[in-house]
């Protein structure tokens, strides 16, 4: 809560083109030089089985929903900064789908916040993911363990993520 809510808005970007996760992490780390701990997660289109991945979203709702997750994470963990970039549209194997990076004074907060934000992004934000392989197009449903992982952050008493 060391920065005003406006920062949470700017911390979230939905992009239609390929982005450079490590370039973004480097910029994020430089912007939070007073933090000792930077944790990050990058999710990519897996090579092999899939030719392409298409991600659609509900634009009017997506950004606001994710900004809410950032607000939640800042209330729950001691964070100096958050960066979330989520790609939409059609993307190729190896390309990044999502980046979450968190800066904090101590590693546990940064790591747990990345974990929490990824759980939220998987099942609680209005994205829909489709695999394309040859002629086949297959909508991806969230896995039961993803739903369970996100639910565990709903109980305010739960400190699982900080254990």
């Amino acid at each position: 809560m060391s920065e005003p809510p406006a920062t949470d808005e700017r911390a979230v970007r939905i992009v239609c083109e390929a982005f450079d996760p490590e370039g973004e992490i480097a910029a994020f780390r430089a912007a939070h030089a007073h933090a000792g701990a930077i944790a990050s997660f990058t999710g990519c289109v897996r090579g092999g089985e899939t030719e392409a991945l298409a991600l659609e979203h509900y634009a009017d709702l997506t950004h606001r929903t994710i900004a809410g997750f950032v607000h939640e994470a800042r209330a729950r963990f001691d964070l100096m900064g958050v960066c979330i970039i989520h790609r939409v549209g059609r993307m190729a194997p190896g390309e990044a789908i999502v980046l979450v990076a968190c800066a904090s004074a101590h590693r546990k907060d940064a790591l747990a916040a990345v974990d929490c934000l990824m759980d939220r992004l998987k099942t609680d934000a209005p994205f829909w993911k489709r695999e394309e392989t040859g002629e086949e197009r297959r909508w991806i449903e969230p896995r039961a363990e993803d739903v369970a992982a996100a639910r565990r952050w709903n109980d305010p008493a739960s400190e699982d993520g900080r254990s």
Binding site: E56, Y58, L61, R64, I97, L121, D124, P126, I140, E141
Partner: protein
């Protein structure tokens, strides 16, 4: 009239990403869903599925609320999210 939006596999079932749905007065969500499906059984089933979430004017409605849809509303039907 309401603007109705379909996402993910609901779009494939509805065969469009959005559709204007004309009506007067206020409708319960149940009545509105029947009007939207208008005899398409597959779409009716998909809209009523437990896992389908509804957003009215870009705000996700809690499942527990008895929704009422008014002319001018933007109503989105959304299958389970799969981001990240």
């Amino acid at each position: 009239m309401a603007r109705v939006m379909f996402f993910g596999r609901l779009r494939d079932i509805a065969q469009c990403s959005e559709r204007p749905v004309p009506f007067d007065g206020a409708l319960s969500l149940d009545a509105f869903r029947r009007l939207v499906a208008s005899g398409d059984d597959d779409l009716a089933r998909a809209l009523q599925a437990e896992s389908t979430r509804v957003a009215v004017n870009a705000t996700i409605a809690p499942r527990s609320v008895d929704l009422v849809i008014h002319p001018g509303d933007e109503v989105a039907f959304m299958p389970p999210f799969s981001g990240g």
